[in-house]
Symmetry: D2
Subunit: 363 residues, 4 copies
């Protein structure tokens, strides 16, 4: 069977490069022989279930490359069958509605751009008989099967620029400046931006921290004449023993489901001040890391992923997702990538390298 029409959707949190993927899919689909039409599905799996779609052509994607966000919208729900539009209402199986949309729009295949949850959802859809292709997306860079995901480089770049800015203030005011970056389960953003920005202490979910050990690292710097320090803290950081949870995590469990700003970095700031003479200040980058124009690298990678997703559809390599493998754009079965996040190995070469330039992990 030759593919004539593909649907594309973006799901999950915002990520720089989504528009570049959409553009590349549309542009490169039009150049196949025979050409392939592209249908955009609005607001992720929600639009698929609710039948909200629009045709996409060259004009729709003109000028999209440098733009953050996604013209298709996205939703935070990963499960395509239980999506029901309203919070707190009873889940229902929406798989029939989903198939109706695919039939109505005569989609021969579906390209799902998203993270672990979205890709798992895509596999579930494939079991209904819909051919699917995945494009991995996570600024956290914690997906297996690809060297890196688009969005990560942009997030690291923004975090590094922030650390650069905080450096001068820390130095002038002899302070501890804490920069909280994204990474609920994996510390990749903290680790790389911490190394690129010269963070003195990097706190990641994979290595539980101890306040006394962090303070020792700060003391050690003071002894060497450096009366200021930069901490880079992943939002998912956990203390040794693990009894203190991040406020964000606590919030999610509490009756009120809305996330609140303020998290583990503020706990750390307070504790550091209590145990030392230091004056600590916190900046939480939050959504700054998710939006805005992608870096050149992310635009390139997202473009390559979009093109290769159409390649995979042309070849009928269903249930695969695109992947960066060294300098080669390849693919792996989605099933091999999802379900087990790639986390920082506390004994691995990345952490060892960071220790070699004097970085403390607070352990």
């Amino acid at each position: 069977m030759s593919v004539r029409r593909i649907g594309i959707l973006t799901a999950g949190g915002d990520c720089p490069g989504l528009n570049a993927v959409i553009r590349a899919v549309v542009k490169s689909a039009a150049r196949r022989k025979p050409s392939i039409e592209v249908v955009g599905i609005l607001d992720g799996y929600a639009g698929l279930v609710e039948g909200r779609t629009r045709a996409l052509d060259d004009n729709d994607v003109s000028g999209l490359l440098p733009r953050g966000g996604t013209i298709l919208g996205t939703s935070n729900r990963d499960n395509p069958f239980k999506y029901i539009g309203k919070q707190n209402s009873k889940p229902q199986d929406r798989s029939k509605d989903l198939l109706k949309t695919i039939e109505r729009d005569r989609l021969d295949a579906l390209i799902a751009v998203g993270g672990d949850g979205t890709l798992s959802g895509a596999l579930a859809i494939s079991r209904l008989g819909v051919p699917v292709i995945g494009v991995p997306k996570t600024i956290d860079n914690d997906l297996n099967g690809t060297n890196v995901t688009f969005g990560y480089d942009t997030a690291v770049t923004i975090a590094t620029e922030a650390i650069d800015r905080l450096h001068t203030t820390a130095e002038s005011h002899h302070r501890v400046l804490i920069c909280e970056v994204m990474g609920r389960n994996a510390g990749w953003i903290a680790l790389r931006s911490g190394m690129a920005g010269g963070g003195d202490v990097i706190v990641i979910p994979e290595i539980p921290y101890s306040i006394p050990h962090i303070c020792e690292a700060l003391q050690d710097r003071i002894r060497r004449g450096k009366n200021f320090s930069i901490l880079v803290v992943a939002e998912g950081a956990k203390p040794v023993g693990g009894t203190i949870v991040s406020q964000g995590a606590a919030d999610r469990r509490s009756a009120d489901p809305r996330p609140r700003l303020g998290g583990i970095s503020q706990v750390i700031a307070r504790d550091v001040e209590d145990l030392s003479d230091s004056d600590a200040r916190v900046v939480i980058l939050g959504h700054l890391q998710r939006g805005g124009t992608p870096t050149a690298f992310d635009r390139w990678l997202a473009t390559c992923f979009g093109i290769h997703a159409v390649n995979l559809a042309e070849k009928g390599l269903w249930n695969h997702m695109t992947a960066l493998q060294g300098n080669h754009i390849g693919e792996i079965p989605i099933a091999e990538a999802v379900g087990k996040p790639r986390r920082v190995d506390p004994q691995g070469e990345s952490v060892q390298a960071a220790r070699m330039v004097g970085t403390s992990f607070g352990d």
Copy 2:
């Protein structure tokens, strides 16, 4: 009396351009006939009282122009006489120690770079018989007597870039994104970055906000097909009636004197979510606005102020501070600038202009 040696100190919060002032003072003092020597006073008024100083020459200021922060360090204490080094200890009059430093280092005059408090402190010192020159510094831009202060353009630039980034996420996720910027008493950063970034609602201390009116503005956008909005909120924003204070302000009053992250923007987010269907997210820029390399404008202005401060010292125009007046670098008596912050006029042309492009002030 011709001036042979000048002391220079930087005081108050960090501000991009301080190093550029120091560099310009040192470089331009060396080029006078006869040349003037410059002594750097460490950590603001603290160093003056405690006698911590260092000579500064061309080599010390080489490469300083693009660097944020201040090589002299700074302190947050404005009162030069009561400074005592430790928090919570009893204040004592340190004016004799201060004069001892000035005598020891044979300083003919003092250049004080700082905000309202620092400049008032400089006037107090002048009453001890020390000739002083002021250089205005505040990222809030709320000082009278000068069109603008250095640091403000950098803060506005960073805020505008942040708003740009948040735009794409707001649009993709149909959300309300709130960007909290500095401005405890004056809304200049919020007003200008809000206009430069296309903020839909700008909340400033000078115009108390009403949650229902903010929600109306958001509703109005939804009616016009725009299911997302950007709020730019100054940290000093106050609701109509004024009963709810910013968490930061509350913190300062509470037993524990340490500032905490999280403020009025989170209160607004919560209230907007309660009163509307909207999903709101907050980013607080905090110290990102204070550090890092100054913009080209701020480097230029800081350089001009440094040069002109030495001009004023040469001419003996004591108790004056440098000022930007149109395209001219001039000066005004410090006494005319301090004590009454320049605030946004709710009826003034700036606010009227913003309303004309559809901005709501939530009033």
Copy 3:
């Protein structure tokens, strides 16, 4: 007569902020009581003569604020009557065609956004009985009557960032790096970016340079242990005596009218290498200074100018252009602003200040 419909056109070279002006005019016109409609005229005076226009509403200007360029297009011809569409054909009087467009589109007034030539053209149009308002635009910042024009800050910012980048290479390679910036008749961009970037020699059209004096300045630096230097050169730089013209100027005179890259900075590089041991390299920024997203300041100023242009039309203050006057957005008669470019005063405070931090002007 109350104004119901306004035409707007952008003319002359590209300039960051043009789209922000268009957006502000459209948005603020819609909010007048009664509201004012806006008609966009395509490609400057060419579209006016040829009748190419389009209505503009809120949707057309959505998202325009951060975008460089102009959605209306522009043309390089300043004379609205002689415009004839093709190069080298005979000029004809097109004033009747122009009036026909204005009548056809029922335009009560015309807002012309442009530089000296465009504004002079607007005055000429006003003499046909068409009410006109001007908005000044020049990245060179050489217009009288306003403290500054939008586009200038962006050009200076780009130039300063370029100088920052060249610094490290100059230092590592012990070289002379020359950065050529715009400014055919006025050296404002070179002067400000040179001061903001720490240029060692600044060469501007208003101060003829002497190669021996430039080399002396470089020698002087080497004597002080700095074996590298940065030259910032305006494209309109002229040697003492003036016999050597910039290659660009020569090109313009030559039979072939197309501009060529390469100019005075290459002549200077060659001459410096001939007279000294130095190794010199040149970067010509050219069009990089004209395009791309405007700085926060330029977005703000362009927005204010767009709003105030509609104010002036509402009040019937014809033949005036908007102007920044200190912190106030005002206006002056176009006739007072055009015809005599504002140039750098070789004896003025700006040049004196730059000399005070050690800058040589090669004179």
Copy 4:
């Protein structure tokens, strides 16, 4: 033998990340057990031959991470034996002087940071019995054996930002804008920045261009309603048949050995204007791509390479260079990396991908 003292030198053209390598080598050498001392060799192989060195410790490398350039200086000469300090004088064998420096400073090994020529030079030195380690450096990214070299990402980022800026002007003025980027033999910078910036035509050394084919691509865009185009041209671009050489190349052959600005992009601009109605403008990025603060990625990679170079020295893995292999920092024999530049494969997946989004290569 355990390594106690290492020398490090940087050679060849400037490249963002050199300082980050030096910092990582010094910091990580100090943390070995037993610790390793580091000696910096000034100005590349020149300093090695002439005995100009300095000890480096933690303080020397403090704050270096974000700084472009190299504190050690560099030289353009690759051959360590024939270096003689003056141009055009007779080459002499300086290997004895070189060994004298190594003996005098008691260097157990040498880390050479540089490109193909520098690394070949290092191998030559190793044949004198000096243990060497290589760190690959080229902004062109044309070295074998590593996925990527540091500096490349920064160069691509700067080129992409420039293309973004030129886009708006091209669009507003209906012009052809040509951005010339580095790449004498390999088109990687042009290819990646062209894809990231949305270049319509990408001209690289590996695919000879034909002006008629370029003009066809421009015509095709005009037919689709896009009356502007962006060309991204590598400095080493060659026309089909190859008879026209870049002016830079011609210069290098001419009697006067000094390079001149202006190259193949200007030839292309002229030819495109001759063959079409288009108005073409050129910007040559030149040294902008080599200097300034490295991107977060390049700082990270350079840091990892510096650390791993010391690892290799500790293990005695002589004659190897560090390499990025997927997500792993590894090493390969220098001999396998040098001598055969990695060039763009005209039939390879990168070029095919670019064609799929509509990019023309002018062939």
